[in-house]
């Protein structure tokens, strides 16, 4: 007897098996969903050490002692919340950095309300960030702090470092957009067409839900269908459900973005691409990237659909620093921070990089007359090379 073209019997058998599995899963699912679930995000203990208006600063101290002398200030984006860095035990950039002896401060930008609609990039950078950094410098009796910026927070950190290079020892930018003149990411294409004035005029602050909808629409097949299919396939797995809910909590915890900050970010960065050209004006001062002279570690993701490598990799060529390093990871925008694979690579690499650059550079003795040689750039004490590194998974 010839083999049939369509194995109907086999297909029907598989369907029956799937239906059985589905029924079993549904029975277990009710147990899982009705059981007490641990879906807390941001479990690492911290102290609030500084508050100003809606912003707070979280302080994390390593239990095993501080190995990097200079504390690290983490500046998160204004989109979503900093809890992403401490999503769950075992998948926490915060915990990994603490176990490597890095003392951390992290800005919690809070939830802007209608009264915050007039806050500009200048208010955030030269206002809140500068005040927080002054507070840390005073608290530790030091002259410089390390800064790590996440996504848009990286852009703000870069602006701060260009305007206040004397207060920054080392700068780390992670998935940070700096070159906006690219059509590699859909976000870049869409933002060029968006009417920021109209949006801000209408809403005051740009609603977080509206932005979230935009992000979901970037890949609806995966983010609106496949993700939930995967959830139902694992609905009987308590650990999976807990992690899934944690992620959902974080993703849809979206503060609104202050209107004037959004307006300038879209117009000056996405539409005019002024930052990378050192033409952006903040608080009446030009953001000159050549003034970013401190060591710079620039980490981005190869499969980032929000901030593609093309939006990140120009930075190290444009800054004034001689000690720069590009690291391209084989993952996506969020994968850098939350994927199990990068937990062992991302934070330890940062800790190593910071440790190598943790020495206070000797101050030069003041001279009565400035010789011609003094105008030349001094090479940093640590590795003085422009280095690009791509890490394969």
């Amino acid at each position: 007897m010839a083999k049939p073209g369509i194995a109907v019997d086999l297909i029907l058998k598989k369907m029956a098996e799937d239906a059985d599995r589905g029924r079993e899963r549904a029975a277990k699912a009710s147990d899982v969903l009705l059981d007490e679930l641990d879906t807390q995000i941001g479990p690492t203990p911290y102290n609030i050490v500084y508050e100003e208006d809606r912003i707070k600063v979280k302080h994390y101290k390593p239990k095993g002692g501080t190995k990097v002398k200079t504390p690290l200030l983490v500046v998160y984006a204004h989109i979503n919340r900093e809890t992403m860095l401490d999503l769950q035990p075992g998948r926490s950039v915060v915990q990994n950095l603490l176990s490597d002896g890095v003392e951390m401060y992290m800005i919690d930008w809070g939830y802007p309300t209608r009264k915050d609609r007039f806050l500009t990039i200048d208010d955030h950078v030269n206002g809140y960030m500068d005040n927080v950094i002054d507070f840390i410098l005073k608290r530790h009796k030091i002259s410089k702090v390390n800064i790590m910026g996440i996504c848009m927070g990286g852009t703000l950190s870069l602006i701060y470092s260009a305007l206040n290079p004397k207060k920054v020892r080392n700068l780390i930018t992670t998935v940070t957009p700096t070159n906006f003149d690219t059509d590699k990411g859909l976000l870049h294409v869409w933002m060029k067409a968006i009417d920021a004035d109209r949006l801000v005029g209408t809403f005051g602050n740009v609603p977080g839900d509206l932005m979230n909808l935009g992000f979901l629409l970037l890949n609806p097949a995966r983010l609106m269908i496949d993700k939930y299919v995967s959830f139902f396939e694992n609905i009987d797995n308590k650990k999976f459900v807990e992690n899934f809910v944690r992620m959902e909590k974080w993703i849809f915890d979206s503060p609104d973005v202050s209107g004037e900050t959004f307006r300038q970010f879209i117009k000056d960065c996405y539409q005019k691409n002024l930052l990378i050209q050192s033409k952006m004006m903040v608080g009446g001062r030009r953001v000159d990237l050549k003034k970013v002279t401190m060591p710079l570690l620039n980490i981005y993701a190869k499969y980032d659909h929000l901030v593609p490598p093309a939006a990140c990799d120009l930075l190290t060529q444009r800054v004034g620093s001689k000690d720069t390093q590009d690291v391209c990871l084989d993952t996506g925008h969020i994968g850098i921070y939350v994927s199990g694979k990068y937990q062992k690579e991302f934070a330890p690499q940062i800790a190593r990089w910071l440790t190598a650059r943790d020495q206070e550079r000797p101050k030069r003795a003041p001279r009565k007359t400035a010789p011609a040689k003094a105008k030349a750039k001094a090479k940093p004490a640590a590795s003085a090379s422009k280095d690009t590194q791509t890490q394969a998974a």
Binding site: R114, L119, G127, V189, D195, I225
Partner: protein, 295 residues
């Protein structure tokens, strides 16, 4: 005899009889004022000539009527009045005709617009439902319906009515724009299912049909993802997305304007009031911080 009948029933006689009977009627009515009221007016020393206000007004009106009746009774005036009365049906007809004609014109215009609905539909062919449908709908709305929301409003509440109509107009525009965007977003789903069917047919021909439903699902989701990426890179999608956002913000602003008017009736501040206050606080805080840093 016929002539005599004409004399008694002719318009001149009828007018005279009407004037006479009307005058007598109102004179009699005047006599019905209560006696107390008349006594009261005569007993009052201070104002012997003062009558109650209503009666005084009545007297004045009656006098005016009598004067009018007497004028009307004159031969020349009677002729003019009767001439006017004879032409009255003509005037009424003319007025009615003009009114009706204006009304019919509006009706005609509405019918013409309604007629164009069909014309526009035909031109874009609604049988093939695709993006053109929404363009047609958008054109149709802008050309044929939107103008009704822009008809100038009159009177004391014109400003409020105008804002309300504006909000309705913007809501309609948002509906069209959102429909267009949703239609575009549904295209990848529709196309991906077609591609999947073709793929499955090919696999069936080759005798390589997968037996697990998950494999079909994974095939479909991959095709769907590809279709979405293709759609997103098109100018049509960017324009449609932008149009939807613009329509949303237009509607939001128009709706807010209506709500701001309503809020004025309530003892609570409007968003505009609060924004003004917030801006002042913001600027003051900024100045204070600057001064504090200068210290």
């Amino acid at each position: 005899m016929e002539q005599r009948q004409q004399e008694t029933t002719g318009p001149e006689n009828m007018l005279n009889a009407w004037v006479k009977s009307t005058s007598e009627f109102w004179q009699n009515m005047n006599n019905f004022w209560p006696q107390e009221s008349k006594n009261a007016k005569t007993s009052s020393k201070e104002s012997a000539h003062a009558k109650p206000r209503m009666e005084a007004n009545w007297d004045t009106t009656l006098k005016t009527f009598k004067a009018f009746a007497s004028t009307l009774s004159e031969q020349s005036n009677q002729e003019a009045t009767l001439k006017g009365l004879n032409t009255l049906p003509e005037i009424v007809m003319k007025l009615a005709q003009n009114g009706l004609s204006g009304f019919m014109q509006i009706q005609q215009a509405l019918l013409e617009k309604a007629g164009k609905v069909g014309q526009s539909v035909k031109a874009y062919d609604f049988e093939n439902l695709d993006q053109q449908t929404f363009k047609a709908l958008s054109d149709l709305y802008e050309k044929e319906f939107q103008q009704f929301f822009n008809i100038p409003q009159l009177g004391l509440t014109r400003g409020y009515q105008e804002k309300f109509n504006h909000a309705l107009d913007k809501y309609n525009q948002l509906s069209v724009a959102a429909g267009e965007l949703l239609c575009l977003l549904s295209l990848p789903v529709e196309n991906s299912l077609k591609v999947l069917q073709e793929k499955v047919a090919n696999l069936a021909e080759e005798g390589e049909l997968p037996d697990s439903s998950k494999t079909y699902y994974q095939m479909w989701i991959k095709i769907l993802e590809g279709h979405f990426l293709t759609l997103y890179q098109s100018d049509e999608y960017t324009q449609s997305l932008n149009k939807a956002l613009v329509s949303l913000s237009d509607y939001q602003m128009a709706k807010d304007a209506v709500l701001q008017d309503l809020l004025k009736l309530l003892p609570i501040p409007s968003q505009d009031d609060m924004d003004e206050l917030y801006k002042e606080i913001y600027l003051l805080k900024k100045r204070i911080r600057k001064l504090e840093k200068k210290k």
